[in-house]
Subunit: 424 residues, 2 copies
């Protein structure tokens, strides 16, 4: 939980720096709100029951459907644009696997009520800032636009088959082009030429500007595709203007994201050293989030940070704190008659801004210091009755065992300066 709280804090700070505000919604929604909103799989996984008032209720399986319900209900009062983040637990009654649990946290941000390219760009910026704030340097944000794919499908006469085509395309990295073409044929009735055309688009490689150039003739004269291409140009220009390094952004026509509701730009984020864990932050633009609950049009764009994947990744990359304490300073309860002195010292240290824990029982010093070492405290502030009478203490750095004798006489400036130097 210590690294998890740190990760959530960082995400919240980044969201807030762009003006996103926190919301919360109940874990329990009326069953009819959640049922049938995200395909058969979600339906099967829904935890549902009857409450004490005989109401059919269910536990939310994501934060997007509750957001849609929330916006349908409150958009009139809240006004738009409405930028929200939501960090909360969701439940899915599925088989557990490594990194996949029945109860887990999601960490979403969304901008509702605008079709502006500014919001598309900002979503990429937030993802970039999240990765940087987490201390990650080797990451690539993949970027696509559903409009480009849709334009090509219209041109090929496959517009009505967009969903099965995109779902097949989404598997490209996993199963390769031949199996994708076969699935496009079996699931969407695509001819070999049609499948080839889609795969050629998805397979475009090069620098971002090379890809834009190569893409241009493929969508030429096709309105949707051309608009999608122009939008991608604007987004790339905006990301660059905001100072994002070229290496972090990759135009990737192969990412489609299987979810039906995406209609515009799509983002996925990969860690260069750990591509196998998949995207750690994904999202995209949707035309009408709340159409199931209201007639008001509520276009928006959002993305979700994969907390569990990121924690696993940070652990593998060595970026996780190992400590089991939240306070750096340990104060042994050394002399059983001097508790009041230890309480005074701890108050002094805390007042200066450093967390301090007093061991609760006057056990042997060795045993107390063993506890401190195991928990990961950084320094111990040791004083027996002789030291206390002389208003002194020993400040011991636990990693090295080195110690120095310092005055406890208020304001104990030297002691506090030494702590400042030794703790992170």
């Amino acid at each position: 939980m210590i690294p998890r709280e740190r990760l959530i804090d960082i995400a919240r700070q980044v969201y807030r720096s762009y003006g996103f505000t926190p919301i919360d919604t109940p874990a329990l929604e009326y069953r009819e709100i959640l049922e049938g909103k995200a395909g058969e799989e979600s339906n099967k996984q829904l935890y549902r029951f009857e409450d004490h008032g005989g109401r059919e209720v269910a536990l939310r399986f994501d934060l997007t459907v509750p957001l849609a319900r929330f916006m349908a209900q409150h958009a009139g009062n809240l006004g738009t644009p409405f930028k929200r983040y939501h960090v909360a637990t969701v439940w899915r009654g599925e088989n557990t696997q490594r990194g996949r649990y029945r109860e887990f946290m999601q960490c979403d941000f969304d901008t509702i009520g605008t079709r502006s390219v500014a919001a598309d760009i900002e979503t990429g910026l937030v993802i970039h800032d999240l990765m940087q704030a987490l201390g990650l340097t080797d990451f690539t944000i993949h970027l696509n636009n559903r409009q480009v794919l849709n334009g090509l499908l219209e041109k090929l006469g496959l517009a009505g088959q967009a969903l099965p085509i995109l779902r097949a395309l989404d598997k490209l990295a996993k199963i390769g082009p031949e199996k994708v073409a076969a699935e496009m044929a079996s699931q969407a009735g695509a001819s070999p030429d049609q499948a080839h055309a889609v795969l050629r688009l998805a397979g475009l490689v090069g620098t971002n500007s090379e890809i834009l150039d190569r893409l241009s003739p493929l969508v030429d004269g096709q309105e949707t595709g051309q608009a999608g291409l122009d939008r991608l140009r604007e987004i790339l220009a905006g990301l660059q203007a905001a100072g994002i390094a070229e290496k972090h952004i990759r135009l990737d026509l192969s990412i489609a994201r299987g979810l039906d509701y995406y209609t515009g730009v799509i983002y996925e984020t990969f860690l260069d050293q750990l591509p196998e864990i998949g995207s750690v932050c994904s999202g995209g633009r949707y035309d009408n989030l709340a159409q199931l609950y209201t007639r008001q049009e509520l276009p928006g764009i959002g993305a979700s940070l994969g907390l569990d994947r990121l924690l696993a990744a940070l652990e593998e990359l060595g970026g996780l704190e190992r400590t089991q304490t939240t306070a750096p300073v340990f104060i042994p309860f050394f002399d059983k008659h001097r508790l009041s002195d230890y309480l005074q010292i701890a108050a002094l240290v805390r007042k200066a801004g450093y967390g301090a824990e007093i061991y609760p029982d006057p056990k042997k010093l060795g045993q107390q210091l063993k506890y401190a070492g195991q928990r990961g405290f950084q320094v111990a502030l040791i004083a027996g009755s002789n030291e206390l009478d002389a208003q002194q203490c020993q400040l011991k750095e636990l990693a090295t065992g080195e110690s120095q004798v310092l005055s406890l006489m208020p304001p104990a400036a030297e002691l506090l300066a030494a702590i400042e130097q030794l703790v992170d």
Copy 2:
């Protein structure tokens, strides 16, 4: 959610400054873990159902029973003392009232594995620091010790009737001494003399040291009561040594807390201006938290911050933020051709540590500034194409309407200094 997040952040900071570490447990526990653990009322209110694997499960109704289960399972690995905080949602299928919901958050801290008076004192210190960190100055932490009450009841021959006696006593402030005496008679078979003796103890008033003096003859010669009195003396001395002002601590022999599991010191916290909302932070010492799940003895002490009550109180006392944004700086999308410039300016402002939001659509300036005012942004950084060409902008304080023209030329030191001065 903005004030709620601030409140939780403050609580976490205070908990951490004493070395408490975060834990989380699943919202869903096996039904048998939760059932029958906190009386008939909790049982009736339990949300329970069968999961997809045919397991009987239920949603937790507090954070204490899951902590008991958690400690029984993990105390061997974690070691003691184990100091944890837990901020999480709980569910109770009851009738909703103002400030009382079916789904709400608890915010607990506990020290497990020690009977030390140091932990008793520390619990009071944490409560004190929580109140101060929330900006509250007029609060009183009421303090009692179940041992003193138990000692008196032993002396009166009422030891076997302790629970109904204490439950009646708990209502003293609400229903007055006569009705309490009547309840003691009807529920515990107490004679008028016995009830009078309990009420005399509970009614002791004066300064803390006066109460200690008056208490002394009442428990004299009775071992449990004498030990309880000595413990109270030690706790008061410790709180004083740590620098807590006398006015914040009140020995109050009338608080009993109905919960069966308390065995030692008890804390309740009242806001002097709003006594009617009840205690905003309560807790106490228990002998054996996990006895239902393990034979290992796990004594401890803990308390719970009442988030909903505190939010209601802070609202009434005017201590709640009114803003609906998390960022202080608003950047209108003034000239539709200059989005890249606004993105650059926002990046510059964020890099200096100030949250900044760009309005997503190039609507009329007045409309954008109205949005900014409603949301509670503090300053607007306004630039049309002329200003941008001259590398300048207007910095407008939204509350006063005053504005100044400043250079955008990087590093824009004057602009950033002006923002620093205008935002909280």
